[in-house]
């Protein structure tokens, strides 16, 4: 007989294997959060922006990874490089704007240089220290410019022009190797010709970053979206496969979306990305918190920056082809906005749901078991995508997601 549960029943394990549920502490515990920054976010490749955001020599862009401020510059050689956005003198943040150009001089410094406004030390686009104010007077011959370069970070442009940075000097793989085949499904579509970002907005949501990633990994929640139920939920939809790759990445397979079924919405066939069957919809979720989502005519990319155990910044970008004429671009923007814009149909619903999870999942709350136990032959409502992510998470953290005080043990059926 169905019944409600008391504390003991509520907190005892569900009728699943340990890989089929997680303890809500991994979404709320401060210590686990700090450990994730150290063990995962400072160790892996993170995409931070698109190369079109710093198109010209001397352009820059500033971002954050695992609480570290990072600056990207494009030098005269066209190459994008990444540095800690930190002055080697007394630790001031070097550049405070989201983006811009160093071609113009700043109040404290010269054109074509990164100038720290505090004491006017200057650096070039390759991170070399070029100028120390009153150097000989103060440092005599004890300190040389050659010793005061910026801290350079590993940086690669890969996959449709996304800029990837790693804080880990020792990372022993390229972004391609890191992606472990998970990007292959969209690579021909994104690499055929240059892309351009037409949409950017951000959200700071009071929930753990993994809850957003989970939502991007599981489609069982299409019950949340009227739009997706009415344009999907047919045999082809239920046959979509979730596929796991090494390093915790996954793909969600495609099908043909019936856009006409939603009033006011239309086929996107005419402006599909290159090599993409009409109205198809592919999704790539990369460990630890990146999502590429291509619905025929427009590409969405979510980049998550965890700010606390119960706080995440999500940056949303929309991309089209750089060669778009005005009419085509406008259509891509409309398609993007109708579902994914800040005033669109689905994004708002997704963000409401994870906000609800965050609000109901405080540290020290009575334990919740978060269930990832659906098995449907690895198709769209199977939860194998999330199980695949948490298997990897457990490995990197050496903690069992279902019981984070216990060291990680490989599960048989992950």
């Amino acid at each position: 007989m169905a019944r409600s549960r008391n504390h003991e029943q509520w907190t005892s394990p569900p009728p699943f294997t340990s890989s089929e549920y997680v303890d809500s502490r991994i979404y709320s515990d401060q210590e686990i959060f700090e450990e994730e920054l150290e063990k995962i976010f400072k160790k892996s490749w993170i995409p931070v922006c698109h190369e079109s955001e710093l198109p010209e020599p001397y352009d820059f862009r500033t971002v954050t990874i695992a609480k570290e401020p990072v600056i990207l510059t494009r030098a005269k050689d066209g190459k994008i490089r990444a540095f800690l956005n930190v002055c080697p003198h007394r630790g001031n943040m070097l550049e405070r704007s989201p983006s811009g150009s160093f071609l113009d001089g700043s109040p404290s410094g010269n054109p074509r240089h990164i100038t720290c406004m505090f004491h006017a030390w200057q650096f070039d686009m390759k991170g070399r220290c070029i100028y120390i104010s009153r150097q000989e007077e103060g440092y005599q011959d004890r300190l040389k410019k050659q010793q005061m370069g910026l801290r350079e970070l590993k940086c690669e442009v890969y996959f449709g022009g996304f800029v990837w940075v790693s804080l880990n000097d020792q990372i022993d793989m390229t972004v391609e190797e890191w992606s472990a085949g998970s990007l292959a499904v969209l690579k021909p579509s994104l690499d055929e010709e240059p892309l351009e970002v037409f949409h950017y907005h951000k959200a700071i949501i009071p929930c753990n970053y993994k809850l957003w990633h989970d939502t991007n990994c599981e489609f069982y929640h299409d019950y949340l979206h009227y739009h997706n139920r009415i344009t999907g939920f047919n045999d082809a939809y239920f046959a979509r496969k979730n596929t796991g790759f090494d390093n915790g990445h996954i793909n969600v397979g495609s099908f043909e979306v019936q856009y006409d079924n939603y009033e006011g919405s239309h086929s996107r066939e005419e402006i599909s990305f290159p090599h993409l069957p009409p109205n198809h919809w592919y999704m790539i979720d990369m460990f630890p918190g990146v999502n590429f989502n291509l619905r025929g005519s427009s590409l969405r990319c979510d980049i998550m920056t965890p700010l606390g155990p119960d706080k995440v910044m999500i940056e949303f970008r929309g991309l089209g082809l750089k060669s778009d004429d005005a009419v085509t671009r406008r259509a891509r923007i409309d398609h993007h906005n109708s579902i994914w814009g800040p005033f669109g149909r689905n994004l708002h619903e997704d963000l409401l749901a994870v906000t609800g999870q965050g609000a109901a999942m405080n540290p020290r709350a009575e334990k919740r078991q978060i269930l990832h136990g659906r098995h449907e032959n690895e198709t769209i409502h199977d939860e194998n995508g999330m199980r695949h992510f948490y298997e990897e998470w457990g490995r990197w953290m050496d903690r069992m997601p279902s019981n984070p005080d216990k060291p990680f043990a490989e599960s048989a059926g992950a």
């Binding site: 704007s97 983006s99 037409f198 949409h199 406008r330 005033f343 619903e349 906000t355």
Partner: protein, 160 residues
């Protein structure tokens, strides 16, 4: 009422109707060929952006679909000041620029027991409006809501 007053009247009424979620009344202030858009400039990607756009029927269609969608029902209130009204020489058209701040009063967006009833600034921007004036009535033909705000958190299903 002067033409400039008619323009102001339409702007303030449109705010009130939208505050009260009287979408049809709002759109009745607009001419048949009305075009609505929410735009912003992003210094992150150094591009002008469109966040939402549509004609009169599209906007009404979208609002009619809302009961099928899961929405944050926290009401939005628009605080608007009309800065300038410029009448064209023909006396039949006008443009206006207004400042707008939208406050959100939490209802069901987070944890209602704690948050419901608290108000916060949801977004900041300006209205750029175009009007057609006939028989002392100013009808919207275009509204562009130019946002400064680009951190929109949960966003909303409601037009601004």
């Amino acid at each position: 009422m002067s033409s400039a007053d008619a323009v102001r009247d339409s702007i303030y009424r449109s705010c009130m109707y939208k505050d009260d979620m009287e979408w049809e009344k709002w759109l009745n202030l607009c001419d048949e060929d009305f075009q609505y858009s929410i735009t912003a400039y992003s210094p992150e990607i150094r591009n002008d952006m469109i966040y939402l756009s549509g004609g009169r029927d599209e906007m009404l269609g979208m609002m009619k679909m809302l009961p099928k969608h899961n929405s944050d029902h926290s009401p939005l209130k628009r605080h608007c000041s009309v800065y300038t009204v410029d009448l064209e020489d023909d006396g039949a058209t006008a443009t206006a620029v207004s400042s707008v701040v939208v406050y959100q009063t939490q209802l069901d967006g987070i944890n209602c027991h704690v948050d419901a009833g608290s108000s916060n600034v949801f977004l900041v921007g300006r209205y750029f409006d175009k009007f057609r004036i006939a028989d002392g009535v100013a009808k919207f033909v275009e509204r562009e809501v130019k946002l400064d705000t680009r951190k929109l958190d949960k966003g909303t299903h409601y037009p601004i």
